[in-house]
């Protein structure tokens, strides 16, 4: 059942974003930024946690979840370190995702060459 919920919620988020891509002039880069920022806001006002509890990866895998992750890290860091936490939370929270993307991508650039689109 948890798989079905992840599938449905994740799928619905993607389908809604497709409307933005097809019906506005927003470029993919802007859409990604929009998603992460909205995720952080939704999480801060307490709306994202319930969605995560319901859908699991369906809520955490989309970039909205990346914003949720950032906010959670921020909140914890502030609770622990006060003002200094404001400058620690974000990067701590997204450390795995960003590091993995950068490191794997760098390694990929050593192995793979640019290819033509078909």
């Amino acid at each position: 059942m948890e798989y079905v919920r992840a599938f449905l919620v994740g799928g619905i988020i993607c389908a809604l974003v497709q409307i933005l891509l097809d019906r506005t002039k927003l470029m993919p880069g802007r859409v990604m930024v929009l998603l992460v920022c909205s995720g952080a806001v939704l999480s801060a006002v307490g709306l994202y946690r319930p969605l995560f509890d319901f859908a699991g990866a369906g809520a955490s895998v989309p970039l909205l979840g990346f914003g949720h992750l950032l906010w959670n890290g921020m909140k914890e860091a502030i609770q622990e370190n006060g003002i200094l936490g404001l400058f620690m939370g974000g990067f701590t929270a997204c450390a795995t995702g960003v590091s993995a993307s950068l490191i794997f991508s760098y390694l990929a650039s050593l192995i793979f060459n640019p290819k033509m689109k078909e």
């Binding site: 891509l21 097809d22 002039k25 993919p28 640019p114 290819k115 033509m116 689109k117």
Partner: protein
């Protein structure tokens, strides 16, 4: 020796001969409707080079050398070349013609550059500034995507109004005599801005410029659309073509029977999934040298109007919120045998 007519046009006193044209293109273009007519098709998208930019340069060099050979000349006999491409600071041209050691002028007219090169080349020959002059342009899908859009490995969707940059290059050799095809006149285009900002809809950005230049050509030469067997625009694509026909109809000319678009000739949009059609400096150049020029030479068409179109933008102007104006350069090409 006054050769200008009307407001923006030149009628050459004696036609400038097109001695030869040559084309080279990639795999996708080879699989398109004009595949058989293109001189060289290279299946390998890097054309034996190391980078996309160098691949584009290789195409220019090959196209130019082939054209010079077809004209029965050697490179020492070419007085000057007009060359251009889409990349920043037109590096594909600079590095492409570097090794040929021919005097050159670098041009930028976005996708209209072949029209610009032919116009300037024809002027140089008509003015007596050179016996043989070259015109060459190129574009490469990958170098253009990398420069203007996304890295190729990025998984984006293209809107239906988007065009597919042609991987190819076309070159022409112009001379005073020696061929039965010639350029009899040109119309220089203005930069026309209708305030459109959508970089994924170049056809809509360029159609007003094409309309303006074609209208001015008909006015300056006092011709009707029927005086041309074909009026062929550069890369308006399916979307831009319809807009052009509408805009010209508004100004009293119906060119629907004569009109064709290089972007629509080079690919089979349905089968090849290229959406609105082909685009790029190479699009007009390849279609002109492989398809239009031979048809005029064979007498299939007596007189055509070749109108490459360009969208004037850079990444900076686009990001700073400027609109995307268009430009179109018209070249009258005729079969000279009576």
């Amino acid at each position: 020796m006054k050769q200008y007519v009307g407001k923006q046009s030149i009628a050459f006193q004696s036609p400038v001969c097109i001695l030869a044209g040559a084309s080279i293109a990639g795999k996708k273009e080879g699989e398109g409707p004009l595949g058989e007519q293109i001189d060289f098709i290279c299946e390998e998208p890097m054309f034996g080079a190391d980078t996309w930019e160098a691949a584009e340069s290789t195409m220019q060099k090959e196209a130019l050398q082939t054209a010079i050979g077809k004209a029965g000349l050697t490179r020492e006999e070419i007085r000057m070349i007009f060359a251009g491409d889409l990349l920043a600071q037109t590096i594909a041209s600079s590095f492409g013609i570097r090794d040929l050691e021919i005097p050159c002028y670098g041009l930028y007219g976005a996708c209209s550059t072949m029209g610009e090169a032919l116009s300037l080349g024809a002027m140089a020959v008509a003015g007596g500034y050179g016996e043989y002059v070259g015109a060459v342009t190129s574009s490469h899908f990958a170098s253009a995507e990398k420069e203007f859009r996304f890295p190729l490995g990025y998984g984006n969707q293209r809107p239906l109004s988007a065009t597919w940059t042609v991987t190819g290059s076309g070159a022409c050799i112009l001379g005073e005599t020696g061929s039965k095809v010639g350029i009899t006149g040109i119309t220089t285009g203005k930069i026309v801005d209708y305030g459109l900002k959508d970089s994924m809809n170049m056809g809509g950005c360029m159609a007003p410029a094409a309309c303006d230049t074609i209208y001015q050509n008909l006015m300056d030469f006092n011709r009707q659309p029927e005086d041309y067997d074909r009026i062929v625009t550069g890369d308006l694509g399916a979307v831009g073509k319809q807009i052009l026909l509408d805009l010209l109809a508004e100004r009293g000319f119906d060119i629907s029977r004569q009109h064709d678009d290089c972007g629509l000739l080079i690919y089979d949009n349905q089968r090849q999934d290229t959406h609105s059609g082909g685009s790029g400096c190479g699009c007009a150049a390849v279609v002109f040298t492989s398809h239009l020029l031979p048809a005029v030479e064979a007498g299939k068409w007596k007189r055509i109007l070749f109108v490459p179109t360009g969208a004037m933008l850079s990444k900076v102007s686009f990001n700073e919120g400027q609109p995307i104006p268009g430009i179109a350069q018209a070249v009258v090409v005729e079969n000279l045998s009576e």
